[in-house]
C-alpha cells in the first residue's frame, strides 16, 4: 500500500483538499471576471489531487479514480475547446459568436465597473473546457508517475 504518512498529515489533507478543489473551481468559473482562468484554476485543482496522492498514496486514490475515465475527461475538454473554436466558423475560426445574445452575452459598460457573470460570450465555456483538460491532464500525469515509482520501490 505504499508508505503511510502520519495521521496528522492525513487528517489535515482531508480538511484542506475540498477547500483547494472549491478554490480551483472558482478560479476556473470566474476566469472571465477575475484574474486567472482555465490553466491557472486547473493547476490549483490538480494540486489538490497531488495533496491527496501524497497523503493517502497512489493506490488508494486509484481505486476511486480510474485513469481511463480521467483520460476521457481530458479528451472531452480538448474536443469542447476545439468545437467552440469551430462553432464560430461562420465568421472566422475562434469568433466570439455569443456576444450580444442572452446566454453569456451581456456587454459591460466601458471602463471600470463591478462586473456581470453573464458576460464574455464563449470565454467562460472555453475556460471550463481548458480547465477540464488541465485538471485531468495534470492529475493523470501525477497519478501515473506516483504509481510507477511506488511499484519500483516495492
Amino acid at each position: 500500500m505504499g508508505t503511510m504518512i502520519s495521521k496528522i498529515v492525513r487528517t489535515m489533507s482531508d480538511i484542506i483538499a475540498p477547500l483547494v478543489f472549491v478554490y480551483g473551481a472558482y478560479v476556473i468559473i470566474h476566469g472571465h471576471m477575475t484574474p486567472g482562468g482555465g490553466f491557472q484554476g486547473g493547476a490549483v485543482f490538480a494540486s489538490g489531487a497531488g495533496l491527496l496522492i501524497v497523503a493517502f498514496g497512489a493506490y488508494s486514490l486509484q481505486q476511486k479514480l480510474k485513469d481511463k475515465q480521467v483520460t476521457l475527461l481530458e479528451s472531452a475538454g480538448s474536443l469542447l475547446f476545439i468545437g467552440l473554436g469551430f462553432a464560430g466558423l461562420a465568421v472566422t475560426f475562434f469568433f466570439n459568436f455569443l456576444v450580444g445574445t442572452s446566454f453569456f452575452g451581456h456587454i459591460p459598460p466601458t471602463g471600470a465597473n463591478a462586473g456581470d457573470f453573464w458576460t464574455a460570450g464563449v470565454l467562460p465555456l472555453m475556460n471550463i473546457a481548458v480547465g477540464l483538460k488541465v485538471i485531468a491532464g495534470i492529475a493523470v500525469v501525477m497519478l501515473t508517475i506516483a504509481l510507477a515509482t511506488t511499484e519500483v520501490k516495492k
Binding site: M33, D67, N96, I107, P108, T110, A120, V141, T144, I145
Partner: protein, 88 residues
C-alpha cells in the same frame, strides 16, 4: 561546399536577428497601437472585464489551442512512458 552554404545561411540568419534586436519596440516606452486597440475595444467586442482572458482566448486563440495541444502531447508521452505492462 556544404560548409560554405551553412556558413552563408547562418550569417544571413544572424544579420536578421541583429536587425530585429535593433528595430524592436523599446522597453518601457508608451504602449503601441495594438495595446491601445485591445484596451479600448475588448469590453465592447468581447464583452469581458478581464482583458487578459480576452487576449488569451479570443485575440490569440490559436496560441491557446497550441498550448492545449502541447499539454495533450505531454500527457500522452507520460502515459506511454509509465504505463503498466500488461500480459506479464
Amino acid at each position: 561546399m556544404r560548409a560554405i552554404v551553412i556558413g552563408i545561411s547562418m550569417g544571413i540568419i544572424l544579420t536578421l536577428f541583429i536587425a530585429a534586436a535593433l528595430l524592436i519596440h523599446p522597453f518601457g516606452e508608451p504602449p503601441s497601437a495594438m495595446d491601445d486597440y485591445i484596451f479600448e475595444n475588448s469590453q465592447q467586442e468581447i464583452g469581458t472585464n478581464e482583458t487578459v482572458t480576452a487576449v488569451v482566448f479570443d485575440y490569440r486563440g490559436y496560441d491557446t489551442l497550441g498550448e492545449a495541444t502541447i499539454l495533450s502531447a505531454a500527457v500522452g508521452g507520460v502515459i506511454i512512458l509509465f504505463r503498466k505492462e500488461r500480459g506479464k
